[in-house]
């Protein structure tokens, strides 16, 4: 049931060495680059100020963050230019690294070893493999190889959206049980399940956005969400992914800024001493405003885009709080200092992980035909 025609086979040479991104995506990426450049300029100016007027530690934290954003943008942009599969693979690598940090931090026992092996080398790659297949086989020939395997016409959404919640979360406790160590059994199984759920399953919804067929409302009617200048279907959703990542980051920054400006009531002092209710409300409202501005990059209506942005801000904050709680429990300040010298990937993607599945599912619920 595809409304959009599958693109004709891409020419082998010439124009498609890199994917053509549509104009809105390019504009959106331009906006991202401008914002980063602006932030970089701000850091340069702040560094020249005398120590008495600006807090050097804050500037340093900010410039570390900025470096992480540059890196994130570089990964995202190169992925988008190389195509959907490349983006999926890049997100898969990020997931793998994040899971590595997560499990390193949580104490496990000898009996968990096999289960951990499956988590890293079976479930993580398999989840991203399923996301990569996505709806590629929907139009496959029913008499061909895929047809005989019973896979033709299948949208793999039905598989990747349940693979970890169903299969992985049953296999892991079973594997731990087979290994024969019953000490703190539920706790150990839950740790690995939580790691997979947060680092792998949730994050995989971000690249899955690239493979969703979408419609939009125009004059009371549902019409395919397409860009007239765009012929191929493949990168059509790139701008939605950029929109999503951009707004998650904006929500993070806004939360920080509003905490500093107005923060009075700390949400949970034992978990995170700087996150306040005022910051959360401020972040939700300002992120919604940014969402309004970027509506043109989405299939949403104005109100829809504002609501989605507010949701992103709430989920992002929830992600940050949850990961803080896990860190407090383990007594680590951030994942970067967990093992010295490693950049803490998990610190940077916690809000992304929590926002991605919600953003994906709401979008799909309303706008997938």
């Amino acid at each position: 049931m595809h409304l959009l025609a599958k693109p004709a086979a891409a020419p082998l040479l010439g124009q498609t060495v890199f994917n053509q991104l549509d104009t809105p995506t390019m504009v959106l990426l331009g906006v991202v680059l401008l914002m980063l450049a602006g932030a970089y300029g701000a850091v340069l100016i702040l560094r020249r100020q005398p120590e008495t007027t600006v807090n050097a530690a804050v500037v340093r934290t900010f410039s570390y963050r900025l470096r992480a954003w540059w890196l994130m943008t570089a990964i995202l942009v190169s992925g988008l230019f190389l195509g959907r599969i490349a983006t999926v693979v890049l997100f898969g690598l990020v997931s793998f690294w994040a899971l590595r940090e997560f499990i390193t931090m949580t104490p496990t026992r000898r009996g968990d070893h096999r289960a951990l092996f499956w988590a890293f080398f079976l479930f993580t790659p398999f989840q991203y493999f399923l996301v990569a297949v996505g709806s590629e086989l929907v139009g496959a020939d029913r008499d061909g190889l895929y047809g005989r395997l019973g896979l033709a016409g299948k949208d793999f959404y039905g598989f990747y959206s349940i693979m970890i919640p169903v299969y992985a979360s049953l296999v892991i406790p079973a594997q731990i049980a087979i290994s024969g160590d019953h000490k703190r059994f539920l706790e150990r199984a839950a740790k690995i399940q939580a790691g997979l759920l947060i680092c792998v399953y949730s994050l995989s919804y971000a690249p899955a956005l690239l493979d969703m067929e979408l419609v939009q409302w125009q004059d009371g009617e549902m019409v395919p969400w397409t860009d007239p200048g765009q012929k191929g279907e493949e990168n059509h959703n790139a701008k939605l992914l950029v929109y999503f990542v951009l707004l998650v980051q904006i929500a993070d920054v806004m939360h920080y800024i509003w905490d500093r400006l107005l923060g009075r009531h700390v949400i949970a002092p034992d978990i995170n001493a700087s996150k306040t209710w005022e910051g959360l409300v401020g972040s939700v409202l300002t992120t919604a405003l940014f969402g309004l501005v970027f509506t043109w990059a989405t299939p949403f209506t104005l109100a829809g885009s504002a609501a989605m942005s507010a949701t992103i801000a709430v989920m992002g904050a929830a992600g940050g709080m949850t990961m803080s709680a896990i860190k407090r429990d383990r007594g680590v300040r951030d994942y970067g200092t967990l093992v010295q010298g490693h950049a803490g990937v998990l610190d940077r993607i916690d809000s992304l992980c929590f926002a991605a599945p919600v953003f994906f599912h709401i979008t799909r619920f309303y706008l997938h035909p």
Binding site: R100, E101, I103, T104, T108, R110, H113, R114, L116, F117, F120, F121, L338, V339, Q340, G341, H342
Partner: protein
């Protein structure tokens, strides 16, 4: 050979995600004995890989013959990273492990040793065997460098063949020497504490 060695080192580094910290000790090509706690079969390989290339080429891990000579793959890897194999079962009079090590390194190579002997099963570090003491006694010019390896036992515990790629950490501390007239037990206790101290930093 050189390329495969580098590839092996890179692979070991990727898999163990090892961070290397040099505390009050700089990488140097002078002759040294790196002595570390032993928790995993990967210890020797990962510690060797984490040294800078020019030092790595001059450093030979000491390992058990019965483990590394089983199977073609292990034999090949052992040859690649230039292991000195020690027979744990038959120790002859003029072929004691320290004698073999000293003969093998000449005046060129450094050593990686695990003085606990067998890998310890519990989290607690085992008592040191006397080999380190004899090395220090027969070659007082060797710098004895303590190394603490953290988390590698979770990457590949005993009895498992499939590694899990967690992040580990290797801490290399300031060298110690055998003092003149220092009793054996006293020195081994001091050496063990030098390793344990790195765990806390």
């Amino acid at each position: 050979m050189n390329l495969t060695r580098s590839a092996l080192a890179l692979l070991a580094k990727l898999f163990s995600g090892a961070t290397v910290r040099w505390l009050d000790c700089q990488p140097d090509t002078c002759q040294r004995v790196y002595f570390a706690n032993h928790t995993s079969h990967l210890d020797a390989l990962v510690l060797w890989s984490s040294l800078p290339k020019e030092i790595r080429d001059l450093t030979r891990p000491v390992a058990a013959r019965d483990y590394w000579e089983r199977g073609a793959v292990r034999r090949y890897i052992a040859r690649l990273f230039n292991v000195i194999l020690i027979d744990r079962k038959k120790i002859k009079v003029h072929e004691s492990p320290p004698d073999v090590m000293i003969r093998e390194i000449g005046h060129k190579y450094s050593l990686i040793v695990f003085p606990e002997g067998a890998r310890n099963v519990e989290d607690e570090m085992g008592e040191f065997k006397s080999g380190l003491y004899y090395l220090g006694k027969k070659r007082p010019d060797l710098e004895l460098v303590p190394v603490y390896i953290d988390n590698l036992n979770r990457v590949l515990p005993r009895g498992e063949i499939l590694p899990v790629p967690l992040l580990s950490c290797i801490t290399i501390g300031p060298p110690i020497w055998l003092e003149a007239g220092e009793p054996k037990a006293e020195f081994l206790r001091r050496a063990r504490e030098a390793v344990l101290r790195l765990k806390e930093i």
